[in-house]
Symmetry: C2
Subunit: 191 residues, 2 copies
């Protein structure tokens, strides 16, 4: 029974969840798969593309946070659409240890095939903001990734006993209120 790309990626997600991004090494992954490190290079070109595949897996997983399909068709719909997108994006990242850091590191390299900003650009297009899609989606994606990266880093530092408090409720509040700043800004663009 031989390996294939999918199994390698799924095992990588397991290593990520158990040991974190820092300890997601080719040798450790090979160990979990009962194989030597060199064998992995038959299935993936290098570590960077493997990380891009893991990133795609994280972003492609459904979150149960999907918006009502027909809510998003005017101004109130724009705000709700952005909130729903941001919520499910954040949820997807939080599902895996170091999810936000991994996606952040992998995104600008453009090796992955899933673009988390795509749904929000589509939404903006439907709301008559075709000329504002690029910079609005960039701002929104950066906000979510930055916020969740900080959340996950702090929660891990807390678990290691390094830092004082970690208030999950407060983190979500800050996320929602910070997002609302962008929602207000985007909605103000609509005539």
């Amino acid at each position: 029974m031989s390996l294939n790309r999918q199994e390698v990626v799924r095992a990588a997600v397991e290593v990520l969840d158990q040991y974190g991004l820092e300890d997601l090494t080719m040798r450790r992954l090979a160990g979990l798969l009962g194989v030597k490190a060199g064998a992995l290079y038959w299935h993936v070109e290098n570590k960077q593309t493997l990380l891009a595949l893991v990133s795609d897996e994280i972003l492609a997983s459904p979150t149960g946070n999907t918006p009502d399909r027909d809510v998003a068709d005017r101004n109130q719909g724009l705000a709700e659409g952005i909130r729903a997108w941001a919520g499910s994006f954040r949820t997807a990242l939080l599902r895996h240890r170091d999810g936000a850091e991994l996606v952040s590191s992998t995104l600008p390299v453009r090796l992955g095939s899933v673009d988390p900003g795509e749904p929000v650009r589509e939404l903006l297009g439907r709301c008559g903001l075709s000329g504002q899609q690029r910079y609005c989606s960039r701002a929104l994606v950066h906000f979510v990734l930055g916020h969740v990266t900080e959340e996950q880093t702090r929660s891990q530092l807390h678990e290691l006993g390094v830092v004082g408090e970690f208030d999950a409720r407060g983190e979500e509040e800050d996320f929602d209120r910070g997002l609302e700043l962008l929602v207000t800004g985007v909605c103000a663009l609509v005539r």
Copy 2:
């Protein structure tokens, strides 16, 4: 003539600018200083704190972008104050190769002593938004770091001939317009 902490940090900034964050290794840094790698541990406790010191150096450097002192005292002053802060923050990051990535990685660990969000919290306080300081400054810092990280990564990929176009003018436009979304959102909080 023996080394000291300051010289180590300054040499680290040189290595960063010439070789990038990935190649800022203790061995390479030691080489530049004419010393063996182990010697560095007499001056800094470990690599992570060294990176925090480098991050502080980057953030502490003046940018010539400082705002007019007495513009920032009402609503128009709030918007202008945020723009000035964001501009000088971005400029400081752009002064060094991988500046944004370094600061991002170092910030949540809280080993550094310079907090880039501090000036903006002070500004918000002066404008009657004391209850909104934390989440507003977080959103602003995440936006700037995320945007500049993407700018620097893309510009490097472009130099390596990996990716198509890199339009510095367009990047700055996206930055300004994205920032304006947050400026609008923050200003809407003022009664």
